[in-house]
């Protein structure tokens, strides 16, 4: 049973094995609240008012303070490859906000007893249920050279629950590289949690080879990196997750 709704400038696809019984308003509410608070397209959002100087960051809501703290922490962990500061000086927390909303939606599903679901938000995937006697999640990865085609498909089981993909030519990917053009056209990171996957995918596109190596050494992740010329690199875990041809 699949439920699709638009929010945060993109589309959410929630696939549930069981009927949602009143759960959908709560899930949609998580994304709507995040959009109202963090959207830079809304002049009345809390983040827009902070950027405008109407509100001090010190007086931010707990939700915004958490997002800011997470973004700052990831900036430090990735040596600045991931950053919430735009070149124009504005604060943009969308690099973590989508992942936080997906994490929170997943927590609501779990606390409500739902064990078998996938949540796709703007190309990022967070899932639950595989590896517990069920079939693995089979997820395609879009070919950056042809957005209507798949580059590959991977099968994942617990604890690998999250897949995030970042591209150097995409709107809204929060990549403000200071090191020149990225080597990578598209980077997919598979991790146990959606925040790690999302942030590292962005950081590797922004930081290139050095960040790719740092991510593979420093985190438990599987990575697929697509170079501009079309060359592909994968970690051993990603290679073994490639789906068998059918």
């Amino acid at each position: 049973m699949r439920h699709v709704f638009a929010t945060m400038g993109t589309v959410v696809s929630l696939d549930l094995a069981e009927p949602p019984v009143g759960l959908l308003p709560r899930i949609e509410g998580i994304f709507a609240e995040a959009d109202a608070r963090f959207s830079l397209h809304r002049p009345d959002s809390e983040l827009s008012r902070i950027n405008a100087g109407d509100v001090s960051l010190l007086d931010a809501s707990p939700e915004l303070a958490e997002a800011y703290a997470l973004a700052a922490e990831w900036r430090s962990r990735t040596d600045g490859c991931f950053t919430p500061s735009r070149p124009d000086g504005l604060l943009d927390l969308n690099g973590v906000v989508k992942a936080i909303a997906m994490r929170d939606a997943g927590a609501v599903l779990e606390s409500s007893g739902f064990e078998d679901w996938t949540l796709v938000v703007g190309g990022d995937v967070f899932a639950s249920g595989a590896g517990q006697g069920r079939a693995p999640w089979s997820t395609g990865i879009v070919d950056p050279a042809d957005r209507t085609a798949l580059l590959c498909a991977i099968e994942l089981r617990d604890p690998r629950r999250a897949i995030a993909t970042s591209g150097s030519a995409e709107r809204g990917d929060h990549i403000w590289s200071s090191t020149g053009p990225s080597e990578f056209l598209q980077v997919t990171v598979v991790a146990d949690d959606i925040l790690t996957a999302d942030v590292l995918a962005t950081a590797i596109v922004a930081g290139g080879d050095r960040m790719l190596r740092a991510a593979c050494e420093g985190w438990s992740v599987d990575v697929l990196a697509v170079e501009h010329a079309g060359g592909l690199s994968v970690t051993p875990g990603f290679r073994s997750a490639l789906a068998a041809a059918s």
């Binding site: 699949r2 089979s138 990865i141 879009v142």
Partner: protein, 161 residues
Amino acid sequence: MRKRAIAASVLASMGILTVGWQVGMATTVTPTSSSGDTASGTAGSSGTSGSSMTSDTGSSSSTASTSALKDGTYTGTSEQTRFGDVQVQVTISGGKITDVAAVHLTDEGGRSVQISNYAAPILRKEVLASQSAKVSNVGGATYTTDGYLQSVQSALDQASS
């Protein structure tokens, strides 16, 4: 077939690491252990340097399977790569490359390191083989609400809602 795809892909991996290896060129390799065979003499002349993984998706496979490679384990010359100094060890059995391993890696400080999780080049062909698998969702770089309408995810959503 799967095994050949792996052999082909690791062959391409070697190429991208530019260890100076050419299949069949004995001058660039030293046998470290083998079943009586040595790397001297020519082991075939149909090798490809494979210096770019994107330059080729088919002939590496055929090279791996058709060259008259002598069985044994060969170690390439040490080369500087983005991973530090790397030597590649190649095992050939039955005339085919059956295993490739990075045997010497050092970091910037000169320490030998074991990199168990690093991203190595892979042949597009091996990746593409997974395309035909049935998928329930599609990951990709962030799409807008408009972009979603043209996306594969949109098609999947329509098919299952």
